[in-house]
């Protein structure tokens, strides 16, 4: 779970960075990549996924000349709702990490164990 949390947080970071640099096409792609991982983690089925894919493709094609702002707005409507699933997945990861306790996080690279009896 530690690695998956790392993956999601890094991708969110990149998503924010792309968004700040007005790279909307790439930022939406990043967002839906995180979203797909979160869907697997939470076990939720999204019936609108194909529709979102279609909308994204149209947006990608429109970006060739001038970005279709209307379609971008539609995409962002979906994006706002889907953010809930990401936060839910993060909550689940944190709960699992808590249940794993100290052993889950106890990973120090190159750690050497020393016996007190030696």
């Amino acid at each position: 779970m530690k690695l998956l949390k790392n993956v999601i947080t890094k991708r969110i970071e990149v998503f924010n960075q792309l968004e700040l640099n007005h790279k909307y096409i790439k930022s939406i792609w990043h967002f839906y990549s995180i979203y797909n991982i979160c869907l697997v983690l939470t076990g939720i089925y999204d019936p609108l996924l194909n529709e979102k894919n279609r909308l994204y493709k149209k947006l990608l094609e429109s970006s060739y000349k001038k970005l279709d702002m209307k379609k971008l707005g539609e995409m962002y409507k979906y994006l706002k709702n889907d953010m809930k699933i990401i936060s839910k997945a993060m909550e689940e990861i944190e709960l699992k990490e808590e249940s794993e306790g100290i052993f889950g996080d106890y990973d120090i690279p190159d750690m050497v164990a020393i016996s007190i009896h030696d």
Binding site: L3, K23, H30, N36
Partner: protein
């Protein structure tokens, strides 16, 4: 849980880091590479058994329909190979819409998201069932994304010796940087 060798752990972490920090098209390529490595390390037979014995229905389905999943992975590989370069060309507006490449890309790109869900399921399953799940990715493994418009404010002047002095530096150059 399967314990991974240190070498394979590092290799897998690097692939995941590249997947995290790459943009559209290329990230799927690294995701596919990670899955390929993990299938080979874990072993196909073992992976199928693990999928079949899992409590989740989706994972069980993947295990039972492994032949289909494998074919999908091959298909996915071909599509990603062909489309990964086109996304950047499309965004940089260097690909001609009348070009054959564009038509090919348009057809192939449509197929990617439909297969994608299985790939992500496999990705999460492979991470959760190996020792890699407790590792964290070192920050130096992430690829740095560069944005042409957002450069550092105090950027260095990259002139070589003998290059003409630009207009804005001319008054400084004549007085050797000293203000008169």
């Amino acid at each position: 849980m399967i314990n991974l060798n240190q070498v394979f752990t590092q290799l897998a972490l690097r692939k995941i880091a590249l997947f995290c920090s790459s943009t559209n098209g290329n990230d799927l390529y690294f995701l596919k590479e990670f899955i390929d490595i993990m299938i080979n390390v874990v072993g196909e037979e073992r992976l199928i058994n693990m999928l079949k014995e899992d409590s989740s229905e989706i994972n069980k389905n993947l295990g039972e329909n492994w032949i289909k999943v494998k074919l999908d992975l091959k298909k996915f590989d071909k599509i990603v190979e062909k489309t990964k370069a086109s996304y950047d060309l499309l965004e940089d507006k260097t690909m001609d819409k009348k070009d054959l490449k564009y038509k090919d890309f348009s057809e192939k790109a449509r197929k990617i998201p439909l297969i994608k869900q299985d790939i992500y399921t496999l990705f999460v399953f492979l991470i959760n069932n190996t020792s890699i799940s407790q590792k964290s990715i070192p920050p130096e493994m992430f690829k740095l994304l560069d944005f042409p418009r957002s450069r550092a404010i105090g950027e260095l002047d990259k002139r070589r010796v003998g290059d003409p002095i630009p207009e804005r530096f001319k008054d400084i150059g004549e007085n050797n940087g000293r203000r008169m």
